[in-house]
C-alpha cells in the first residue's frame, strides 16, 4: 500500500501504518492512514490540484495544514450528507471518505469558467459595484443568476440532513482553549489542583505544535511528551479533555460556545450517536491558548498549487510523514522558517533553495543550510512562479534574476497570534512592533491568554506561561496548586524583519486567496479613496470569506499602510466576531427541528378530540381542535357552519382549557384586581364572575377575561390563551415591584384544571345530567355570571361558571386535568339526546364575531378600551394601571377608529380581514384610510359574511356605506357599517 503513497516517508510521523484507509477524491481511489487529514493523504498520493478559486477559477492546491486554509475547500460526502466548503486540511481521514473538488465546470483539470482569469483586469476591486449598476431590472433576471453560477462555492445538499444534532451545557472552573504546549501545561497545572477543567482542542490529536515539530521535550520526542501529558489529563476525574471541539465564541457571563464534531470523522455516525454537539460551556475562568497562524508573503503567482506555508510543510513532514514535493524551496523573512526547513531536510525532505528578504541572516543558519547543500539567496525575493502546478520560480537578488526549479515553495512572513476570541467583547488587538503582529488587547472578563496566542512564540516560554496562567486561574478560585515541573526547553531566537509584498512581482499577487483579492485590488481601493480598513475590507471583500482572512488580514492591512504612509497601528485593524470557524445550522438547532422545533402543549381532551376526528391547529404552543369534519362534508366551511348551527339550535361543547387560569388568594386580592382591571372586582359577590379588561401601563388594552370570586379571599382569573404567561408575569410584577405590601398569593392553575364549555339552548339540560345530586343549576341556582364549586360525575371536584362567549346560554365546567377526557365523554353521553356537537376554535370564532365579542385580532396592542367599545366599563372612582396614559389626547381623539360591525352591501361578497376602509369614491391612499377589518366570518345564522373592524367614528356611522379595499388579494367590495352584535343584541339567550 505504501508504494501507492509515493510521497510518504517510510517511517516516522503520527500516523498508524497498520490502519490503512481507502478514500475517493473526484472519483479516483486513494489510500491513506489513520492519523491523516484529507489534505495530508492527498499530498501523500501526489495530488496537488484540489480546487478552483472563487472568482477567477484559478487552480489551487493545499496552502496550509490547519483551520486557516483558504484554498483546499472540497465537497465532503455525498447526497444528503454532502457538505460544501469543507477544509481538507482539518478533515480527519476515514475509511470510505468521498470528496469532490468544487467550483469547477466541467472538471477540475479543464475548467471553462477559468476564462474569468483572462477577464481579471476587468474583475478587480469594486467590479460588482461598478459594472452591475444598471439597468436595475437586469439584477434579478440576469446578473444575479450569472454571478451566482460563476462565483458559487460548493453545493449544499438538497435532501434533509439525516443526522441528529444536539446541544448541551457544561460547567467548569477553568476552561483551556487549545491543547498545544501552553494549553496542556495550563490544564495540567489547574487539573492537579483539583479544579474542574475542560481542555478543548479542535484537532483530533491533542498536542498542537508539539505534534508538528522535530526535537525533544523532557527527554522524549515532542509528540510523545504531548501524548504523555494528555494521558495524565484524561486520567484525572476532574478534567474533561474534549478533542475535535472548536471553541468558537465568547458570550456574556463566562459563557463560551463550542462545537464538538462527535461523528464527523466517521462515514456515518454510530447508531443513535449525534453527528455534532453544540456546547455552551460556562467557565469561571478561561485561558486562550489557541496558538498562532503563519502568514504568507504576497508575490507574483503566489496562489499556484505547490506554494504552501512553511509551517504546513513542516507539519506534513513531521506529523504525517508526507513530503509535499520533491524539490522544496523556502521564501521567508524570519529565522523560524529556516529552522522549520532545516528540520524538514533532516527528516527527509529535499530542500534545495532558501530565499530570504533580509540582507543579514544568522550565520549559523546560513552555514547549516549550506552544509545540507541548500542554495541561499539573501536580500532576495520571489517575483514570479511558473507551471500548472508549481514547476519553477523566479528569484530577484543582488546577483540578478534567476529561474529555479521547485515543485514546493514554502513561504513564511511570520506568525499572527490567534487573538480571535479576545475580540468577541469588542477588544481591539494591539500591534507589537517586535513581533510585527497583533497581540491580544483588552480581553473578555475572566479570559487570559497564554503561549503563541499571546505572542509568546518560544516553546519553552510558552510551556512556562501556560503552566503559570493555568495555576493562576485555579489559584484565584481558591484551589491549592501544587508546583509543576515545567520542561526546560531552549527558546530559539525569534528574528524577523517585517516584509509583506514583493513590489517587483510579475503576475497577480494574491493577498486573500479564498476571495481572490490581489495586492493590486488593495491599490485600487486606496486610489479610489477607501482608506479605512473597514472600507478596504468591504470594497475588496478582503478577509470576508469563510476563513475570515486568517492568512490575509494583516498582510492586506500592511499593504494599505504602506500605500497611505501610515503605520500599521495608525491604519487600525478589523476585529473578529463569533463564530471563530463556521458552525452548521443543524448544530444550532439541535433536537429542535421539524415538529420538534418547539414544544407543543396538548389539551386534556387531545386524544378524545382525535378520536372524534378533529383537525388540529397550532394556537401558540397549544394544539387545539380547529373543527371536526364529518363524512360527506365538502370543506371546512361546511363543517364549521354545521357546528355553529348545532350550537345555536341545541348544544355543543369545546375544550377551553388553554385559557390562562390564575388563582389569587389573600385579603388584598380584591384590591389587586381593582388596580389591574379597569373595572371593579372588590365588590363582586362570592359566587359570581365578571368580565374584566386590563390595560398596559401605556393605556392600551393588554388582555381581557372573566374573573370569579369563589370565596371571600379567593378569586379565579381567566386570561386569553395567548396572554396567559404575560398576564401572570404582569401580576407578579405588580406584587413584587409595585405593591409588595399587598397580601396576595398567586398560583397558575392553567395546568391543574381541564375546562370545557358547553353552549346552546340545551346546555342546562346537559349540565344537569352530569352534576352530582344537590347541585342546583337552575336559572335561580346558577344565574348568568354565576360561579360555584361543586361535584360532578359522581364525586369529581369541579368549578362551574355560567359564562358565554358564543352568545348562547352557556357554562364552563372545570375539573382536574386528568378527568378532562372523562368529562368530555360524560357530556357527550348526557347530550346524546340533543345531538350534542363537539366544535372547534373556528366555530367558536364565528360565534363570537356574530355576537360582536372582541378577541385576539382586536386586542392587538394598538387598541384602547374605548376603541373596542368597552370605554364605559372603566371605573371613574378608582385608579388602575393604564388609566392616566389612556387619557392622552391621542387616545381619546374622537376620530380614532372604533369597533363596528360590517356586512356586504350586495349580500353575497366574501369579506376579507385586513381590508382597509375608504370613503366611497376616495382614492386608495393613506390619507383616505379610515381603518381596517379585523375579523370576518361566514354567519350561517344570517346566511352571509359578516365582519368586525375598526373605523373612524364607527359607532356614529351606523348604516353608512364604505369601500373595503384589499390590495393584497386584489379585491374590493362595498360594506355597510352596523352595530357589532349580529345576533341577540339584547342578550336574552344568555339569561334565559
Amino acid at each position: 500500500m505504501s508504494r501507492l503513497n509515493r510521497n510518504r516517508l517510510e517511517a516516522g510521523g503520527l500516523i498508524d501504518r497498520a490502519r490503512p484507509l481507502d478514500f475517493v477524491f473526484d472519483g479516483h481511489r486513494y489510500h491513506g492512514y489513520a492519523g491523516d487529514t484529507l489534505a495530508s493523504a492527498l499530498l501523500a498520493n501526489g495530488v496537488r490540484l484540489v480546487g478552483r478559486s472563487f472568482k477567477y477559477h484559478r487552480p489551487r492546491g493545499i496552502f496550509s495544514a490547519g483551520a486557516e486554509e483558504p484554498n483546499a475547500l472540497v465537497e465532503l460526502r455525498a447526497d444528503a450528507r454532502r457538505e460544501p466548503n469543507s477544509r481538507a486540511t482539518v478533515t480527519e481521514l476515514f475509511d470510505g471518505l468521498e470528496a469532490t473538488s468544487q467550483n469547477r465546470w466541467p472538471s477540475l483539470g479543464l475548467d471553462l469558467l477559468s476564462l474569468n482569469r483572462f477577464l481579471a483586469p476587468f474583475l478587480g476591486a469594486g467590479f460588482y459595484y461598478k459594472t452591475f449598476m444598471w439597468p436595475a431590472a437586469f439584477w434579478e433576471k440576469l446578473y444575479e443568476p450569472v454571478i451566482r453560477r460563476a462565483a458559487g462555492l460548493g453545493r449544499a445538499a438538497r435532501e434533509a440532513d439525516p443526522d441528529h444534532y444536539e446541544k448541551a451545557t457544561a460547567f467548569c472552573d477553568v476552561l483551556v482553549i487549545g491543547a498545544g504546549p501552553a494549553g496542556l501545561m495550563a490544564a495540567l497545572a489547574a487539573g492537579r489542583s483539583g479544579a474542574r477543567v475542560i481542555l478543548a482542542d479542535e484537532d483530533f490529536l491533542p498536542g498542537g505544535r508539539l505534534n508538528t515539530m522535530a526535537g525533544e521535550v523532557h527527554g522524549q520526542p515532542a509528540a510523545a511528551f504531548a501524548a504523555h501529558v494528555a494521558a495524565e489529563l484524561a486520567s484525572l476525574p476532574n478534567v474533561r479533555l474534549m478533542t475535535r471541539t472548536t471553541v468558537f465564541g465568547v458570550y456574556d457571563g463566562g459563557t463560551y460556545g463550542a462545537l464538538e464534531r462527535v461523528a464527523d470523522h466517521l462515514a456515518v455516525p454510530a447508531p443513535f450517536q449525534p453527528r455534532q454537539r453544540l456546547w455552551r460551556i460556562v467557565a469561571r475562568r478561561a485561558l486562550l491558548a489557541a496558538g498562532a497562524t503563519e502568514r504568507p508573503i504576497v508575490f507574483g503567482g503566489n496562489d499556484r498549487p505547490g506554494v504552501m506555508l512553511a509551517g504546513a510543510v513542516g507539519t506534513y513532514v513531521q506529523r504525517h510523514a508526507v513530503l509535499p514535493g520533491r524539490h522544496v524551496a523556502l521564501f521567508a523573512n524570519n529565522d523560524g522558517a529556516w529552522r522549520e526547513m532545516l528540520d524538514a531536510a533532516a527528516t527527509g525532505a529535499n530542500v534545495e533553495t532558501v530565499v530570504d528578504v533580509r540582507p543579514n541572516v544568522a550565520p549559523e543558519l546560513v552555514e547549516a543550510a549550506r552544509a545540507r547543500g541548500i542554495r541561499v539567496f539573501t536580500e532576495a525575493r520571489v517575483i514570479a512562479t511558473q507551471g500548472r502546478t508549481l514547476r519553477s520560480f523566479d528569484v530577484l537578488s543582488p546577483g540578478g534574476r534567476e529561474r529555479l526549479a521547485a515543485d514546493t515553495l514554502a513561504v513564511s512572513g511570520g506568525w499572527s497570534p490567534c487573538v480571535h476570541l479576545t475580540c468577541h467583547h469588542g477588544g481591539k488587538p494591539a500591534w507589537n512592533e517586535a513581533l510585527a503582529a497583533f497581540v491580544p488587547g483588552a480581553t473578555p472578563p475572566g479570559l487570559a491568554v497564554a503561549g503563541a496566542a499571546n505572542g509568546t512564540f518560544g516553546l519553552g516560554a510558552a510551556l512556562r506561561e501556560g503552566a503559570g496562567k493555568g495555576a493562576e486561574a485555579a489559584g484565584a478560585l481558591g484551589f491549592p496548586v501544587p508546583p509543576l515541573d515545567v520542561p526546560q526547553v531552549e527558546d530559539a531566537p525569534f528574528a524577523l524583519t517585517p516584509f509583506w509584498h514583493v513590489g517587483e512581482s510579475r503576475g497577480p499577487a494574491f493577498v486573500d486567496l479564498q476571495n481572490d483579492v490581489t495586492a493590486k485590488d488593495v491599490g485600487i481601493a486606496h486610489a479610489e479613496g477607501f482608506r479605512s480598513v473597514e472600507h478596504l475590507k468591504r470594497y475588496t471583500t478582503l478577509g470576508m470569506a469563510t476563513d475570515q482572512g486568517r492568512t490575509s488580514n494583516v498582510t492586506g492591512l500592511a499593504i494599505m499602510a504602506s500605500l497611505t504612509g501610515a503605520s500599521i497601528p495608525e491604519t487600525g485593524t478589523t476585529i473578529f466576531r463569533p463564530p471563530y470557524s463556521p458552525v452548521a445550522l443543524g448544530a444550532l438547532a439541535g433536537h429542535h427541528r421539524g415538529k420538534d422545533f418547539r414544544p407543543v402543549r396538548l389539551t386534556p381532551t387531545h386524544e378524545w378530540a382525535r378520536a372524534q376526528g378533529a383537525v388540529f391547529v397550532e394556537t401558540g404552543a397549544w394544539l387545539r381542535a380547529q373543527y371536526f369534519p364529518r363524512k360527506g362534508e365538502r370543506d371546512w366551511l361546511e363543517t364549521v357552519s354545521r357546528e355553529v348551527k348545532a350550537v345555536r339550535a341545541s348544544v355543543g361543547l369545546i375544550d377551553v382549557s388553554t385559557f390562562g387560569k390564575i388563582d389569587l388568594q389573600g385579603p388584598d386580592a380584591g384590591t389587586l384586581l381593582d388596580r389591574v382591571y379597569i373595572n371593579t372586582f372588590s365588590t363582586l359577590a362570592v359566587g359570581k364572575a365578571r368580565y374584566g379588561v386590563m390595560l398596559r401601563e401605556d393605556g392600551f388594552v393588554m388582555d381581557d377575561g372573566t374573573t370569579a370570586r369563589v370565596a371571600p379571599e379567593h378569586y379565579v382569573m381567566t386570561t386569553t390563551t395567548a396572554n396567559a404567561a404575560k398576564v401572570y408575569q404582569h401580576l407578579e410584577f405588580c406584587l413584587q415591584v409595585l405593591w409588595p405590601e399587598l397580601d396576595v398569593s398567586l398560583a397558575s392553575v392553567s395546568e391543574q384544571w381541564a375546562q370545557i364549555a358547553i353552549a346552546g339552548p340545551r346546555s342546562r339540560q346537559v349540565l344537569a345530567k352530569i352534576v352530582d345530586t344537590g347541585v342546583d343549576v337552575t336559572n335561580e341556582g346558577l344565574p348568568f355570571m354565576g360561579a360555584v364549586e361543586a361535584r360532578v360525575m359522581g364525586g369529581v371536584e369541579a368549578r362551574l361558571f355560567r359564562l358565554s362567549f358564543s352568545g348562547e346560554l352557556g357554562y364552563e365546567i372545570a375539573v382536574p386535568a386528568r378527568s378532562g377526557a372523562a368529562l368530555a365523554e360524560a357530556l357527550m353521553q348526557a347530550g346524546e339526546e340533543f345531538a350534542i356537537t363537539p366544535y372547534g376554535v373556528e366555530a367558536l370564532g364565528v360565534m363570537r364575531i356574530e355576537k360582536g365579542h372582541v378577541s385576539g385580532n382586536e386586542l392587538s396592542g394598538q387598541t384602547t378600551a374605548r376603541d373596542l367599545g368597552l370605554g364605559r366599563m372603566a371605573s371613574t372612582k378608582k385608579d388602575y394601571i393604564g388609566r392616566v396614559m389612556a387619557s392622552r389626547p391621542g387616545l381619546v381623539d374622537p376620530a380614532r377608529p372604533c369597533l363596528a360591525g360590517f356586512r356586504p352591501v350586495n349580500g353575497s361578497s366574501r369579506l376579507r380581514a385586513g381590508a382597509h376602509f375608504l370613503p366611497l369614491g376616495a382614492r386608495p391612499e393613506t390619507a383616505n384610510d379610515e381603518g381596517y377589518m379585523t375579523s370576518v366570518a361566514y354567519s350561517p345564522h344570517l346566511g352571509h359574511w359578516i365582519g368586525l373592524g375598526l373605523i373612524v367614528r364607527g359607532p356614529e356611522r351606523i348604516g353608512e356605506r364604505v369601500r373595503a379595499y384589499d390590495p393584497v388579494r386584489g379585491e374590493e367590495f362595498e360594506v355597510e357599517i352596523c352595530a357589532p352584535g349580529f345576533i341577540d343584541p339584547e342578550g336574552e339567550r344568555l339569561r334565559g
Binding site: E166, T169, G594, P599, S745, V749, E751, A754
Partner: protein, 203 residues
C-alpha cells in the same frame, strides 16, 4: 422528516402523542430508565408575606427534610417538599388524598394552598447517564459537588419549564407541566438514545 436516519429514536412516533413505553436507542443495559408511574398528590404552598422561613420549617417538620426556604428538596416518608421560589414550595405526597386540607391544618393562615395534583407529570429518572442527558436540556450545573442529593432547580429543560431535584446518587425527579408530557418525553428519547433508554409507562 420521513428521511431521517433509521437511528432516529423518534421515527414513526406522532409528535402529538406520548411515546409508548419500551426500549429506545442503543441496545443493552440502558444508561437511563424513565418512569412516570408514580402520580403523587401535589399542592403548591405560597407563604404569605414574611412567613417564608416559618412555613419552610413547618413543612420540614410535617413532611420531612431540613425545612429550608431555598431550592432544595426535603424527603420524608412518602413525601417530598421542594422549594421552587422564595416562600414557595411544592409538596408531593403519596398518601394524603386531601393534601390541601392537611396543609391548611399544618400551616394555618400562614400560606395559600393550591391543589396541583393534575398540573404536573412526575418523571423519575435513574441511571448513570442521567446527568449527561439532563445537560442536553438544562442550563444547570449538576456536578455532585455543586448539586448534591436534595438540591433542586426550577428552570427550563429543552425550552420546557421544569422543576428538577436529585433524589439519590443516581436518581432524579423532574416535574413538568402536564400539557408538555409528549414533548418532554420526546426530548428524553432524543437525548437519551445514545446511552440506551428504557421508558416505563404508567402501568
Amino acid at each position: 422528516m420521513a428521511d431521517r436516519s433509521p437511528h432516529d429514536p423518534l421515527a414513526g412516533i406522532a409528535f402529538d402523542r406520548v411515546p409508548p413505553a419500551g426500549a429506545y436507542g442503543v441496545t443493552g443495559e440502558p444508561g437511563i430508565v424513565v418512569s412516570t408511574a408514580e402520580e403523587p398528590f401535589i399542592a403548591l404552598v405560597a407563604a404569605r408575606n414574611g412567613f417564608g422561613a416559618s412555613v419552610a420549617e413547618r413543612l420540614g417538620r410535617a413532611f420531612g427534610g431540613p425545612g429550608l426556604d431555598r431550592p432544595h428538596a426535603g424527603f420524608g416518608s412518602g413525601s417530598t417538599v421542594v422549594g421552587i421560589g422564595p416562600g414557595r414550595f411544592l409538596v408531593l405526597s403519596r398518601a394524603e388524598a386531601d393534601l390541601p386540607g392537611t396543609l391548611r391544618a399544618v400551616l394555618g393562615t400562614e400560606a395559600a394552598i393550591t391543589g396541583q395534583s393534575d398540573a404536573f407529570v412526575l418523571f423519575d429518572l435513574s441511571g448513570a447517564r442521567v446527568p449527561d442527558l439532563l445537560a442536553k436540556g438544562a442550563p444547570v450545573d449538576l456536578d455532585p459537588r455543586v448539586f448534591p442529593v436534595g438540591d433542586a432547580a426550577t428552570t427550563l429543560v429543552a425550552h420546557i419549564g421544569a422543576t428538577l431535584w436529585r433524589s439519590g446518587e443516581t436518581g432524579w425527579r423532574v416535574l413538568v407541566a402536564r400539557s408538555f408530557e409528549a414533548s418532554f418525553t420526546r426530548f428524553l428519547l432524543g437525548a437519551g438514545a445514545e446511552y440506551g433508554l428504557r421508558l416505563e409507562g404508567r402501568g
